[in-house]
């Protein structure tokens, strides 16, 4: 992990305009989907984007996949601006960056045979010679645990887990350097999930890929990710190596999130931080720290007025947090997870 990051997000922002007006729409505001997100993803590493629905994690994934263009900021893949590349470089990018989506029932074209689904990336990018395609498909199918002869079948002939394997195979076919995983197991049955998670882990070693994973399940995140970025209302509130984050979450929101997560055993008693209310509307997000409206540890006006910056912890340069608790009063360190709050 000492090489250059594969993917760099610099102050990436995505606003969607909200319009009003009868004939000529006026923009009356913006939905702040992604707000100044900066992060790096190293080679061979899994970065998980965690947060509740509407926090911007999926939009971030879409920005990386060029399904959306950023309002401002820059995404760099191997040093190139992702949204500026064209021609051959674009084709290269398309083969280097692939995605696996949440719902295996919707992510496979029901009208195409497995072979065509899997080989599509190669075909549209003319990545390899025609004769080679079949070999590549065979290899990648066997890598994901499917039989070559199944490539003649249609997706509906497979179960959910198998379909997700097909989706993975079609992402792997171009031997990508980065795989964007959008909730890759949450639509699967419990007994299938671990199969697929293990498969992802195995493939990462086999293909030396980086994963950018969007997830809301913390167990999955802990199992899969090396690094976790927690998002709230479009902003990154905490970014840290997995173990460091799970052992000692710093941001009050992260803490609340962890406390809300379900225990894996009835005997595990966890302090409950029940957040009041719901996530505010992203159209008119709260001023200052956007979490201040629900924060049980709000320290005063500063939270309402100033937006905290994502800064590394002095004791752990890998662990970044955006909270005034840690910048204003460095003496106070409530992040041990066993506080006295209710």
């Amino acid at each position: 992990m000492d090489s250059e990051p594969v993917l760099k997000l610099k102050e990436v922002t995505k606003y969607y305009p909200v319009t009003k007006g009868l004939l000529f729409a006026r923009t009356i505001g913006h939905v702040r989907a992604v707000d100044r997100v900066t992060l790096d993803l190293d080679q061979g590493e899994t970065l998980a984007l965690v947060g509740e629905s509407g926090c911007g994690k999926t939009t971030t994934a879409k920005l990386i996949l060029r399904q959306e263009t950023p309002t401002s900021g820059k995404l760099e893949f191997e040093g190139q601006d992702v949204h500026r590349i064209t021609g051959a470089a674009l084709k290269q990018y398309r083969t280097d960056v692939q995605a696996v989506f949440q719902d295996p029932w919707s992510s496979l074209n029901p009208r195409m045979r497995v072979f065509d689904i899997v080989s599509e990336t190669l075909v549209v990018n003319h990545a390899v010679a025609k004769g080679e395609v079949a070999d590549r498909v065979a290899k990648v199918l066997s890598d994901v645990g499917l039989r070559t002869e199944q490539s003649r079948n249609f997706p509906h002939e497979f179960s959910g887990g198998q379909r997700q394997r097909i989706a993975i195979a079609s992402a792997l076919i171009s031997e990508p350097k980065l795989l964007v995983l959008d909730e890759p197991v949450s639509a699967l049955d419990v007994s299938i999930r671990s199969q697929i998670m293990n498969l992802f882990k195995d493939l990462q070693d086999l293909y030396r890929m980086s994963y950018l994973m969007v997830a809301h399940d913390l167990g999955t995140t802990r199992y899969m990710a090396h690094k976790v970025a927690v998002m709230y209302l479009g902003q990154l509130v905490e970014l840290a190596p997995t173990r460091s984050l799970f052992e000692a979450p710093l941001h009050p929101y992260t803490q609340a999130l962890f406390s809300a997560a379900l225990p894996s055993h009835p005997d595990i008693e966890r302090e409950e931080i029940i957040l009041e209310g719901e996530v505010p509307s992203p159209i008119d997000p709260p001023s200052g720290c956007s979490f201040h409206t629900r924060c049980p540890l709000k320290i005063g006006e500063v939270c309402e007025k100033e937006t905290p910056e994502l800064t590394p912890r002095p004791d752990d340069s890998q662990h970044h947090v955006a909270c005034h608790l840690y910048t204003r009063e460095p003496s106070r360190s409530p992040g041990d997870g066993e506080g006295k709050r209710v």
């Binding site: 060029r66 692939q98 074209n109 195409m112 497979f158 639509a187």
Partner: protein, 299 residues
């Protein structure tokens, strides 16, 4: 993770299951409508030239207005003859060809045009969508029958005129339906996946969206065959349908309607043929909708 109350349904066709046998599959087909259509439409349409006992266009005056065989007629003219002494049965058989070809050509033309525009509108959205949908509105608001009348008095009634009218009536329907379908398909993940893979818009439309909208289009087409036959009949009634002496079913009913008292068979049999054929087509369309596209509303 959805837990359907009918757990069985979701996993239909899961990889391990065997396909149903040929005969078992056959039994599930709607046999009655298929039988009716084969006997009434398809066989006559394909074989009228060899099977029809008489010339459908040229009659013999001495044989005019012969009743059907069970009403005092002879087997030579099983369903009787019309005012020009033409054999109704032969005309019906040839009429099947006419009805079928009008329906097929019209639906093909309207379907292709409407589907293309619907794909463009639904896929690209924006200005193209706005323009196409306004055109749809306009075409829906314009009374098609007036267009037919105008065309008929302008260009004269002909096969082409009918096709133009059918196309005009159908395209907007297809455009709207296909657009709706595309709007939902383009949100599905496999389209996103194709985009990520770098597929061009054209490829996405042709390889990903069109095949998935195909069921809708096919079902719509099946349901339309019947209404096109009825449309042809209505136009013939107004005197702007298929030109004489072509044996078109609608024209036969329209021509025979005056003699409904004294020579009821002239209009009755083609009327019956239309009713049965459309009936069967609707049944078949219903069945196909249930099979292929349960989401498609009754149209």
């Amino acid at each position: 993770m959805t837990d359907s109350p009918l757990p069985a349904v979701r996993a239909v066709g899961a990889g391990t299951r065997k396909r149903p046998g040929f005969w078992r599959g056959l039994r599930r087909l709607p046999l009655i409508p298929i039988f009716v259509l084969v006997v009434l439409l398809i066989v006559p349409a394909l074989s009228a030239d060899w099977l029809a006992p008489h010339d459908p266009v040229r009659g013999s005056i001495p044989d005019r207005l012969k009743p059907p065989v069970f009403f005092g007629g002879t087997w030579e003219f099983a369903l009787g003859t019309d005012r020009l002494g033409r054999d109704i049965l032969s005309r019906l058989m040839h009429g099947a060809k006419v009805s079928l070809s009008i329906s097929l050509v019209g639906i093909l033309a309207g379907g292709v045009l409407g589907t293309a525009l619907g794909l463009i509108a639904g896929y690209f959205r924006g200005l193209a969508d706005a323009i196409i949908m306004r055109l749809v509105d306009i075409s829906m608001a314009l009374p098609s029958i007036l267009l037919a009348l105008v065309l008929a008095v302008t260009a004269g009634p002909s096969f082409q005129t009918i096709i133009v009218v059918v196309t005009f009536v159908l395209w907007a329907l297809y455009a709207r339906q296909v657009r709706g379908e595309v709007l939902s398909i383009r949100e599905r993940d496999f389209v996103a996946r194709a985009r990520v893979a770098g597929a061009s818009d054209f490829r996405i439309i042709v390889r990903h969206i069109l095949p998935n909208a195909a069921n809708t289009i096919i079902v719509l087409a099946t349901l339309q065959v019947g209404s096109v036959i009825l449309l042809e009949a209505g136009l013939s009634f107004l005197g702007v349908g298929i030109p004489r002496p072509t044996p078109a079913w609608g024209l036969m009913v329209a021509d025979g309607r005056q003699l409904i008292v004294s020579a009821w068979w002239i209009a009755f049999f083609p009327g019956l043929a239309i009713t049965l054929a459309v009936f069967a087509l609707n049944l078949l369309g219903d069945w196909m909708r249930d099979k292929l596209d349960p989401r498609l509303k009754e149209v």
